[in-house]
């Protein structure tokens, strides 16, 4: 689908493009995305959970008209699952069918060909004929060895396979690495990346996001919702509500046909935004009480 591939020529293009695919970027998000595309450098995206780090990669893929290749990281992830693996079974079959008829040398050359290679996400991204968006999700979950292995890929866009030699990228992928900042990443990795810190959005920005995802919600209700979410985030919670949860909450309110967030509605629906029992108590005690539909206390909620 080369005809749909877009190449932005300014930061504003990126803003417009990302907006057109349903992602409202902050100014630094758009700028760093633009730089990533222009400079061909990977981007390290850090920030709390649920601020749209993964979503950014998906949106970029949609906007640029590229395929998204995703590598989800976890503890113990290794080359065999990230880069490539030899297809042992196929190699064995090959050896067995050829046994006796061909010499060692031919078989040896044969079974280490690309035919016997099982490409894993990183390899797929590198060898794709069309440029892709590569998302390496939650890189902080892996161990340092894995980071070291990524270095070659991130700076040279190539992979060395001992039996085959170097495989170089045919096209320049846009690479995003996300991290929840649970572990300090190595300097070497950071040095090769552009850095983007995504935080919870400002009230206006989040309001826009919520409105985009649930356009039927009443404007004043949406504003109040976002303001409450911001209050909740100020509290000391195990898991503060993310953008995704604001959107879920907006949808829940729509479904319930609520036209006002009062104490009662809040109590009923707050489990959508707060997911820990102890957090629920805190939120009910600190935010919920302010919403009680008492009109005389002179404290207008939110």
């Amino acid at each position: 689908m080369p005809e749909t591939i877009t190449e932005p020529s300014s930061v504003d293009d990126v803003v417009a493009g990302l907006r057109s695919v349903g992602y409202l970027p902050g100014s630094s998000t758009a700028l760093v995305s633009y730089l990533a595309i222009k400079l061909g450098k990977p981007v390290l995206v850090e920030g709390p959970a649920g601020v749209g780090k993964t979503e950014l990669a998906k949106a970029l893929a949609r906007y640029l008209g590229r395929t998204l290749v995703r590598l989800q990281c976890y503890e113990g992830l290794d080359e065999a699952k990230a880069l490539y693996e030899w297809n042992y079974k196929k190699q064995l079959l090959r050896i067995q069918t050829e046994a006796g008829e061909t010499g060692w040398r031919e078989v040896q050359d044969d079974i280490f060909g690309e035919e016997f290679l099982l490409p894993r996400p990183l390899m797929t991204a590198i060898s794709s004929p069309d440029p892709v968006v590569l998302l390496i999700d939650e890189i902080d979950k892996t161990d340092q060895e894995f980071e070291a292995m990524l270095l070659e890929l991130l700076s040279e866009f190539q992979i060395s396979i001992p039996e085959l030699g170097r495989i170089e990228a045919r096209t320049q992928p846009v690479v995003l690495l996300t991290s929840n900042n649970t572990r300090e990443l190595t300097e070497a990795l950071k040095r090769r990346c552009l850095y983007l810190w995504l935080d919870y959005p400002e009230t206006e920005h989040e309001l826009e996001i919520v409105r985009l995802h649930s356009p039927d919600l009443d404007e004043t209700l949406a504003r109040k919702l976002v303001e409450i979410i911001h209050q909740v985030r100020e509290l000391d919670l195990k898991k503060p509500p993310s953008i995704a949860e604001s959107i879920d909450w907006a949808r829940a309110l729509l479904l319930l046909g609520a036209d006002e967030i009062d104490g009662e509605t809040f109590k009923q629906t707050m489990s959508v935004i707060v997911k820990h029992r102890t957090d629920l108590d805190t939120v009910a005690a600190r935010v919920g009480v302010k919403l009680e539909p008492a009109s005389g206390d002179g404290q207008p909620a939110a």
Binding site: L39, R183, R191, C193, K238
Partner: protein
């Protein structure tokens, strides 16, 4: 404080612009970042230049964004970067203006017609709406209205005087009229921003008047810390502790690296070979399990460490989640074991309540008695101490004049493999007054621990694999 020093010192003359035009300026900027402790590589600088080619320089947001994306690569670095960016380019621009003798037209006499009350309101409204550009203009107006003529010469004093004259306060002012934006009080962060604008405008004035550049103010720990002091802010502590838990959970797994000193697991290898017709193509290795140390934690909960004890208790709580073999004690004058409390209560708040309620800390005088604590601890755990055990003490080592009994402490550390001491006081105060940390420090590794990053330093030391 810093301002007074500036006043007393002779101002430096305007220095020459760095050679090499804009590139030179950027290198000077990088040098200043390095001075503030950021590790910048040449490759990052090259990236910064490459990034700047892609964006218009006239937009401050984009210019700054491009630089920060390539140079500042962690939240802490971001903070330093922002501060240094403001300081550097402000000074660079002012120096350049002074060099070319560009001054502002002295047309400020007209502003005294401004309705002061309206100005106050306007500023409060701009603060609430967070409009930077308007705020800067208003700061200039405010200086012109309140600050001229009677400037005390000390920037900090002037800033506060103007703020007071404007009636901007953090706390609500209920006697103001209903529609006044100051009524509900103004956020501390916003006030800080406005003060920054004021200071900057006053500084600009000063540079212009004296045609010289005051020495730059190095960043202090306070500037660098995030707007709310991390240790006071329980939420921030919990965030770090949550990170810490994860790190503790994954630490030691490096040892699991399959290729190092791996033992072949014959059973699993043979079983796997069935798939390949009995040929053991794939070797299976026995996993190396990380060694979990046994930990004894002692936590001071006396009044001298009240502010830090919440922090300590939450660290203790996190440690309980991460290590199974952990015994914890709290102490004031004597010690009492709280291992069970923490094991029973998964929730931090409940656990800390339980500790203060029924841990039964023998608290007669309310003053710490370290000597007694060591003796009791030694009696309690002497049999369990062994070279693989780790002892962690959380306390300020203030004995209230009682004998430190470091000989007993030495006996404990000699039996244990490692001993760490976390002191919630800045190193500056160590060994002042009744602090006897020096006596203990010779037997253990002591960390100052009053910021969350220092806590991380400690976690790194703690989780380093023990080579036994």
């Amino acid at each position: 404080m810093a301002d007074r020093r500036e006043q007393n010192r002779l101002y430096a003359k305007i220095p020459d612009a760095p050679a090499g035009g804009f590139d030179g300026q950027l290198l000077a900027f990088a040098e200043e970042l390095r001075e503030e402790g950021m590790a910048l590589g040449t490759s990052e600088l090259l990236d910064a230049f490459a990034a700047l080619e892609q964006v218009p320089w006239t937009e401050q947001d984009e210019f700054k964004g491009a630089l920060s994306a390539t140079l500042a690569k962690s939240p802490d670095d971001r903070r330093t970067f922002d501060l240094v960016f403001d300081r550097f380019f402000f000074r660079a621009a002012e120096a350049e203006a002074a060099r070319r003798e560009i001054t502002e037209a002295p047309s400020r006499s007209d502003v005294f017609d401004v309705d002061l009350e309206a100005l106050r309101r306007e500023i409060a409204a701009a603060l609430r709406d967070g409009d930077e550009a308007t705020l800067r203009d208003l700061a200039r107006l405010a200086i012109a209205a309140f600050g001229k003529g009677e400037g005390s010469g000390v920037l900090g004093v002037d800033v506060q005087r103007i703020r007071r004259a404007l009636g901007l306060r953090a706390e609500p002012q209920p006697d103001l009229p209903e529609d006044d934006p100051r009524r509900d009080g103004i956020g501390r962060e916003q006030l800080r921003r406005f003060e920054q604008q004021l200071r900057r405008e006053l500084e600009r004035d000063l540079i212009e008047r004296t045609a010289s550049l005051p020495p730059k103010r190095p960043l202090t720990e306070l500037d660098r810390a995030l707007p709310t002091g991390p240790i006071q802010d329980l939420a921030a502590v919990h965030r770090v502790v949550a990170q810490l838990k994860r790190r503790l959970a994954t630490q030691g797994h490096e040892l699991k690296g399959r290729k190092r000193h791996a033992h072949v697991d014959m059973r699993r290898t043979m079983r796997a070979s069935l798939q390949t017709g009995g040929v053991p193509i794939e070797l299976k290795y026995r996993p190396q399990r990380p060694r979990r140390p046994e930990i004894f934690v002692l936590c001071d909960v006396s009044t001298s460490v009240t502010s830090a004890s919440t922090f300590f208790l939450s660290v203790l709580h996190a440690l309980h989640d991460a290590f199974r073999k952990l015994r914890s004690f709290v102490f004031i004058e004597r010690i009492s074991e709280v291992t069970e409390v923490f094991e029973r209560e998964r929730d931090f708040r409940a656990a800390s309540e339980a500790v203060s309620r029924d841990a039964g800390v023998a608290d007669i005088s309310g003053y710490t008695d370290y000597g007694r604590v060591w003796t009791e601890l030694l009696a309690l755990i002497e049999d369990e101490l062994h070279p693989r055990a780790t002892v962690i003490v959380l306390g300020d080592a203030r004995t209230n004049g009682r004998p430190p009994r470091d000989d007993v402490f030495a006996a404990i550390t000699a039996r244990a493999g490692r001993t760490f001491w976390l002191n919630p006081e800045p190193r500056l105060y160590w060994n002042y007054g009744d602090s006897v940390i020096a006596a203990y420090e010779q037997h253990c590794t002591a960390f100052e621990c009053w910021r969350t990053d220092q806590l991380e330093e400690f976690v790194k030391a703690l989780t380093q694999p023990i080579v036994a």
